[in-house]
């Protein structure tokens, strides 16, 4: 059970301080999610290359980072990299086969690839969002859109790997944050695994990301994929899915998990509770409205 947030700056090329905004909004929901927090932020899309975020669960961070850079370098050119606390950020040339994440994880003990994308960067850790902001310098992150999450762990463990957002691995730039519980998780997972998809965790929220990515890969529009998910997912959910171009959402048929959105000419803001929107935005025209049961919405550049 959790709190989720999202922001989308409208208009081609418009950006804002997504790192600061997402973590500030997350902190307002701390009651819903005391265990961990995470964000998926979309900065300037790379014309030529991909940004990769790797989490290092080892005491010897520098050595681990070197190992990752070496391993990645065997598959593609590593153009740049830097280490902030346990998050290693790399810029690589390409990952056409989608094998880079597995490659790195198989070779480097304690390495977990959180995201790969032209623009998307996932940072998540234990503790409050403001701590994560400080630890990883998110206050400086400018971007076009982003989603965030604070977690109260239900069935899977409280650890970083099981925290949201979940990357729809290996599809670049797709991530999900979810409030609720998918009760047909195992059935959906088996179906997707049979189609060749792989899962990184035992967390039910991950299946939403893979489900949507699978549909998009099959040529479905985001709208179609979201609508299909309302029929196919069982259980309680209000979720945000972010892609290279924007954000989509869906709410379950009984409207069990709260989700509000507020829109003005510049932006769209989403949150589980109004307090999260009010604490950050002063514009009186940003009037939050609760989404309806089974409602699906999306905002794309």
């Amino acid at each position: 059970m959790c709190g989720i947030v999202g922001i989308f700056y409208k208009g081609e090329g418009s950006t804002g301080p997504v790192g600061q905004v997402m973590t500030d909004m997350c902190d307002q929901l701390f009651r819903r999610g005391p265990d961990s927090a995470g964000v998926a932020l979309y900065g300037s899309p790379l014309q030529d290359g991909l940004v990769v975020r790797v989490d290092l669960e080892r005491p010897d961070l520098e050595t681990a980072a070197d190992e990752v850079v070496t391993a990645a370098g065997e598959l593609t050119a590593v153009k740049d990299w830097n280490l902030t606390s346990r998050s290693l950020r790399l810029i690589v040339a390409s990952d056409d086969d989608g094998k880079l994440a597995d490659w790195i994880e198989e070779r480097v003990r304690g390495a977990r690839v959180f995201s790969v994308g032209r623009a998307m960067e996932i940072v998540k850790d234990l503790g409050m969002a403001c701590d994560i902001n400080q630890r990883y310098g998110l206050g400086l992150f400018q971007g076009s859109h982003g989603i965030g999450h604070t977690r109260m762990a239900t069935e899977s463990r409280v650890d970083i790997a099981h925290s949201h957002p979940f990357w729809a691995r290996p599809f670049p730039d797709i991530a999900v944050v979810h409030n609720g519980q998918i009760t047909n998780y195992h059935k959906l997972r088996r179906r997707l695994e049979q189609k060749g998809h792989r899962f990184a965790t035992e967390n039910d929220s991950e299946v939403i990301a893979v489900y949507i990515a699978d549909r998009l890969e099959g040529g479905e529009s985001l709208d179609g994929a979201l609508r299909a998910s309302v029929e196919d997912l069982d259980g309680t959910f209000a979720y945000l899915i972010s892609t290279a171009n924007g954000i989509g959402l869906a709410r379950d048929q009984f409207a069990t998990k709260p989700l509000l959105y507020a829109e003005n000419d510049e932006m769209v803001v989403l949150a589980s509770e109004e307090i999260s929107i009010r604490a950050i935005f002063e514009d009186p025209n940003l009037v939050p409205k609760e989404l309806q049961a089974k409602e699906v919405r999306w905002w794309l550049k």
């Binding site: 059970m1 009651r31 005391p34 762990a153 239900t154 998990k257």
Partner: protein, 463 residues
């Protein structure tokens, strides 16, 4: 007799009953062929499940020193809800009377339970109908339930309580709501519950204003705000996914967890739910304790366990496994007179006999406890009934103290799992207690340790 051409018969004369198509199963199908729906009944599951009876105490002999039975003190005082409340609940004994609705029970029954509880220095709990006025007048410590139906819910009554109990579900039928059939929705009950008289009342399973543990945290805060943070907030759950549910309830801010195992009873339920939902009380308790240990909340949050607790020995074993108190429902009703051999013709009218009655749902309780019929209600003489319940509470307490002293404890809360041995393989695995006569626990960790120890010490020996 049908015979073959030689005059011999194929059929056995001995009457044989199938293990599948037993008489109860046959009658069940025949009844459903008339009803066209599931079958309702009161009481609890008739199934056999692992229980505390599968454990035994290993008192002191030479290895530990026992206390003298009648001369040396054994403390039974119990404090519940110290986590956040300004005024935790203090009980003279680690026993509470479980929530049973005024509606499911008669006013006299509630009164008798209240009187007995006051004498014993323990608490009673309201139920799925709101506070019964007589009960509030009789008892000193009343736990006020906040249920999904909110029938009879009155903030003034909440403010009169010594604890609030947010009810997520009950052991008899976790994941479903309460039921009170029409014959028990009398004018008075209908008035209190704001329902039409005679309706078959179904309570919702979910609360109207919160869904899920993240909302529950806000709801608990609201209750604290309404009661000025004075009283503890209990969260009651039917034993289902106990490990996860416990962690969530703790995170949502519960002071006390009330966990009701599958042996828990109810006034009315589809019988399929009684038999096929929930896990046994003993299993639930072990799972809950382990779960609290994992989040380092054992001791900070208390556990009250219920579901088939039938005497002081069960209570002692529950405490030894980690409970802070037990709650009794059925046992208290039996002390009131449930299934007593009185008014035999009325048992017959229901098609049962004393000792076999589980017909609380009909509203025709022969001894006047689970009924709203004015004539039947008169059969429960309140003062005698209160005496009986108090006597039973006394007997429970003495049994607990007896076990504790025999194990060398001067406080019943010092009983430990190590004071017991398991008599069956199942109970050993469930509780982590060695099987009697062995020092072995059948758990993956224990096995791994043994294997590691063997390999370590045996490496120098040839095979």
């Amino acid at each position: 007799m049908v015979s073959d051409s030689n005059g011999h018969s194929d059929s056995l004369q001995t009457l044989r009953e199938s293990n599948i198509w037993t008489r109860p199963v046959l009658e069940d199908i025949q009844l459903k062929a008339q009803l066209g729906r599931y079958r309702m009944q009161g009481f609890s599951t008739h199934r056999r499940v692992p229980t505390f009876d599968d454990l035994t105490f290993v008192p002191c002999t030479l290895s530990r020193v026992p206390l003298e039975g009648y001369r040396e003190k054994c403390e039974t005082k119990t404090v519940l809800g110290g986590r956040f409340a300004a005024q935790p609940v203090v009980l003279d004994r680690p026993i509470t009377i479980a929530g049973m609705s005024y509606g499911a029970l008669s006013g006299r029954a509630k009164t008798a339970l209240g009187r007995a509880a006051r004498r014993a220095g323990i608490s009673t709990t309201t139920g799925d109908g709101g506070m019964c006025r007589e009960e509030r007048e009789e008892v000193d410590t009343m736990v006020y339930q906040v249920l999904p139906s909110r029938y009879g819910f009155n903030p003034d009554h909440l403010k009169l309580a010594q604890a609030a109990e947010v009810v997520i579900g009950q052991g008899a039928k976790p994941g479903t709501g309460g039921v009170l059939l029409g014959s028990k929705v009398s004018e008075e009950i209908a008035e209190q519950r704001t329902l039409p008289v005679g309706v078959d009342q179904r309570s919702p399973v979910r609360h109207p204003d919160f869904i899920g543990p993240d909302d529950l945290q806000l709801k608990i805060e609201e209750i604290r705000e309404a009661t000025d943070w004075q009283i503890p907030v209990y969260v009651k759950m039917g034993a289902a996914r106990v490990a996860d549910d416990v962690k969530l309830a703790v995170k949502a801010g519960a002071d006390v967890l009330v966990i009701d195992g599958m042996e828990g009873a109810t006034g009315a339920s589809p019988d399929a739910l009684l038999d096929h939902t929930g896990i046994p009380t003993m299993s639930a308790l072990c799972e809950a304790v382990r779960s609290l240990e994992e989040i380092k909340a054992l001791g900070e949050v208390q556990i009250v366990i219920s579901g088939g607790i039938k005497n002081g020995v069960d209570a002692a074993k529950a405490l030894a496994l980690g409970a802070d108190a037990v709650s009794i429902g059925t046992a208290a009703l039996v002390a009131l007179n449930c299934n007593a051999p009185l008014y035999l013709e009325d048992y017959e009218k229901l098609g049962v006999k004393p000792g076999f009655c589980h017909h609380c749902h009909t509203g025709r309780c022969p001894v006047g406890i689970t009924t709203q019929d004015p004539e039947l209600m008169k059969r429960l003489e309140v003062d005698d009934a209160a005496d009986r319940v108090f006597n039973f509470l006394q007997s429970m307490t003495m049994e607990m103290q007896m076990m504790a002293r025999a194990c060398g404890k001067n406080d019943v809360h010092d009983l430990e799992a190590e004071d017991m041995r398991a008599l069956t393989l199942e109970s050993s695995i469930i509780t982590g207690i060695p099987l009697a006569g062995t020092d072995f626990v059948l758990s993956p960790d224990a096995i791994a340790e043994r294997v590691a120890a063997r390999l370590g010490s045996g490496s120098s020996e040839a095979r």
